[in-house]
């Protein structure tokens, strides 16, 4: 029995946001989209927005509590936490986006090929996907990180390896069902070539769901990436990676609560934002 035999699990986030739950539609969409853009601005121009240098050590100013000088306080080396969080977006968030982009591109091509050719090739390709989906990601990421060496890159490689199969499965399912649609048969009857069908009638229909999934997954990847960084698999010091900052704060939890709380809040709000954005997008798409 493989995972392929199981009924598909609807995305739980979809579940949380589908029709009956109600909730705002457009307002949430615009709000979340604006905030997401704002966060992406942090990724692009952290220097413009950060009040200070994320790396400058100021031992005399260790554990300064949040105040007008350091909005989020300072850490054990006297570095401004707000500046570190802002610069950290480039490592935490941008890496998540890269991982999901890789997964989406590879998974889409793979899934579309499987669906398009069908038959034995399809079965072989999808079985491979099932194998990958059966790997426990945390332990697997540890194995990869242990062999490729610690660092952001090897963690990203591990997550890329584990993330694309879910896209492959989703896209394959979609393409399969689109290929069975009447409008495809109509197009075939009208003499459209295979390439034309794929370009005009199949691929465009996958965009909406891909976009929704992509948005939601940025949040999921961020959770996974910062979680691994928390375990020491990921960005190495002194890079201001969010999960790493929470991990480093652990031993000072009782003396400097702000050290771990603010990076955590930022992770939470960022993930929440992409979840809400994805949900709002899904609502638009499904209507």
């Amino acid at each position: 029995m493989s995972a392929a035999d199981l009924p598909a699990v609807p995305d739980a986030l979809a579940a949380a946001g589908s029709r009956r739950a109600g909730g705002g539609g457009r307002g949430v969409l615009w709000w979340a989209a604006a905030t997401a853009l704002g966060v992406l601005a942090l990724v692009a121009f952290p220097g413009l927005l950060a009040p200070g240098d994320p790396y400058s050590l100021e031992v005399s100013n260790r554990f300064a509590s949040p105040g007008s000088a350091n909005l989020f306080g300072t850490d054990d080396a006297g570095r401004d936490i707000l500046s570190r969080v802002i610069h950290g977006a480039r490592y935490s968030l941008w890496s998540s986006i890269l991982i999901v982009t890789f997964a989406a591109v590879v998974g889409t091509v793979y899934g579309a090929l499987a669906a398009w050719y069908g038959g034995i090739l399809d079965r072989l390709l999808m079985r491979t996907v099932d194998v990958f989906l059966a790997f426990p990601y945390l332990v697997f990421a540890m194995a990869v990180a242990a062999s490729l060496g610690r660092g952001l890159t090897s963690t990203m490689v591990a997550l890329c390896l584990l993330w694309w199969p879910s896209y492959a499965r989703m896209v394959r399912g979609q393409v399969k069902s689109i290929l069975n649609d009447y409008h495809i048969r109509a197009a075939v009857t009208l003499g459209a070539s295979r390439g034309q069908i794929l370009r005009w009638h199949v691929i465009p229909h996958t965009y909406n769901q891909l976009l929704v999934r992509f948005t939601l997954d940025i949040g999921n990847a961020l959770v996974a990436l910062t979680g691994l960084a928390f375990l020491g698999l990921g960005a190495t010091p002194p890079l201001p990676e969010w999960g790493r900052m929470v991990a480093d704060s652990k031993q000072f939890a009782l003396t400097a609560w702000w050290y771990g709380v603010f990076p955590g809040v930022v992770i939470f709000l960022t993930v929440l934002n992409f979840v809400l954005l994805g949900e709002a997008l899904r609502k638009r798409v499904e209507l």
Binding site: G17, A146, L231, G243, K250
Partner: protein, 346 residues
């Protein structure tokens, strides 16, 4: 009625198919981790020999461990070992990895079992409540729990709980498992709650529950969000179906309509997801165990990772992959009970 014979055949066929699948997945996992182990930057012989060992000693260890054999030979030897239950020795604890795993497994299983039962049962109940009464204050609250719980990073929740409830308020121990000696009970299974139960010691029971509370809470907060959300949407979909209205039209009580007809159908995707979650927990308790120094398989994996103990990481990867596949195969056995249409497919 169909005769019993084909059904039994199909069960056998399904069983062997499942076993073959398990073998394939595990073999792939073994192969990948083995391949990865050959590009480990740290020299395993050097690690095994210890830091103070000279080059000659390292060479001797290399020969002893068979690390100078051709890689295919090593691969075959490794698989042969696995088949006889030999996962090799840990470079860190110097003992057989299987022993270490067996020792740390009960603590993990206890943590997983308690957390899973809580978030599965509570999540289903809350999801049903939300689906049946979709409006009201409770619905808003449940929506917040469902969305926020899914978005919140596990490690951060764990840390916050630790700071607040254990550090500041001192209600719970900060970390660690039940100390059997201090609680005055014998270590039989290794799982605190069970041992306290065996010893019939209410005070040890209480202590074991207190120790479990924070790590369990951390797991529950994250996982219950998915369960609630999926249960709600699944049941809401079923309640919209015409057969529900038809059952009401036949005069069935609401309890029967919702609990017997609709809920049974709605549970199908929820059971699938719970199975996946249980499988993920087998490998995913690492973060929680690390935060709370819970001496389970996750903490063992983490310590091995920190010590570059690749043998142990390989073994845990293989074992948790097998566990994941097994759990999902077992979950697959529940489907025909929920949806008898599945059985005929054979």
């Amino acid at each position: 009625m169909r005769s019993a014979k084909p059904a039994r055949f199909s069960k056998l066929a399904r069983f062997s198919k499942g076993a073959a699948w398990l073998a394939v997945v595990v073999l792939v996992a073994v192969t990948i981790t083995f391949a990865l182990s050959r590009i480990v930057p740290a020299d395993p012989a050097r690690l095994a020999a210890g830091l103070e060992a000279g080059p000659e000693q390292v060479e001797r260890v290399r020969q002893d461990l068979g690390l100078d054999d051709p890689i295919p030979v090593q691969y075959v030897r490794y698989i042969g070992g696995l088949l006889t239950g030999d996962f090799g020795d840990s470079l860190r604890t110097r003992g057989p990895i299987l022993d270490d795993v067996v020792e740390s497994l009960p603590a993990s299983l206890e943590l997983i079992a308690v957390s899973f039962s809580i978030f599965a049962v509570l999540g289903i109940v809350l999801g049903v409540v939300w689906a049946y009464w979709p409006r009201g204050v409770h619905a808003v609250l449940l929506r917040v729990v469902a969305v926020a719980g899914a978005a919140v990073p596990v490690f951060w929740v764990g840390l916050l709980l630790q700071i607040l409830l254990a550090g500041r308020l001192g209600w719970f121990p900060v970390a660690g498992n039940l100390n059997h000696e201090a609680a005055g009970i014998a270590e039989v299974t290794g799982a605190g709650l069970l041992d306290a139960l065996i010893a019939r010691s209410p005070s040890a029971m209480w202590e074991a529950a207190r120790v479990l509370f924070l790590p369990v809470m951390t797991i529950v907060i994250h996982n219950i969000a998915l369960t609630i959300a999926l249960m709600r949407s699944s049941l809401a979909d079923q309640l919209d179906q015409e057969y529900v209205r038809a059952a009401r039209a036949r005069g069935l009580s609401e309890w029967r309509v919702v609990m017997v007809d609709a809920l049974r159908n709605a549970l199908n995707p929820v059971v699938t997801m719970l199975g996946l979650q249980l499988g993920w927990l087998l490998g995913g308790v690492v973060i929680v165990e690390v935060i709370f120094s819970w001496p389970g398989i996750g903490l063992y994996a983490f310590s091995s990772f920190q010590a570059f103990d690749y043998n142990a990481i390989m073994a845990i990867t293989v074992l948790s992959t097998a566990g994941f596949v097994l759990v999902n195969a077992l979950v697959g056995l529940i489907y025909p009970r929920l949806d008898p249409r599945i059985q005929e497919g054979g």
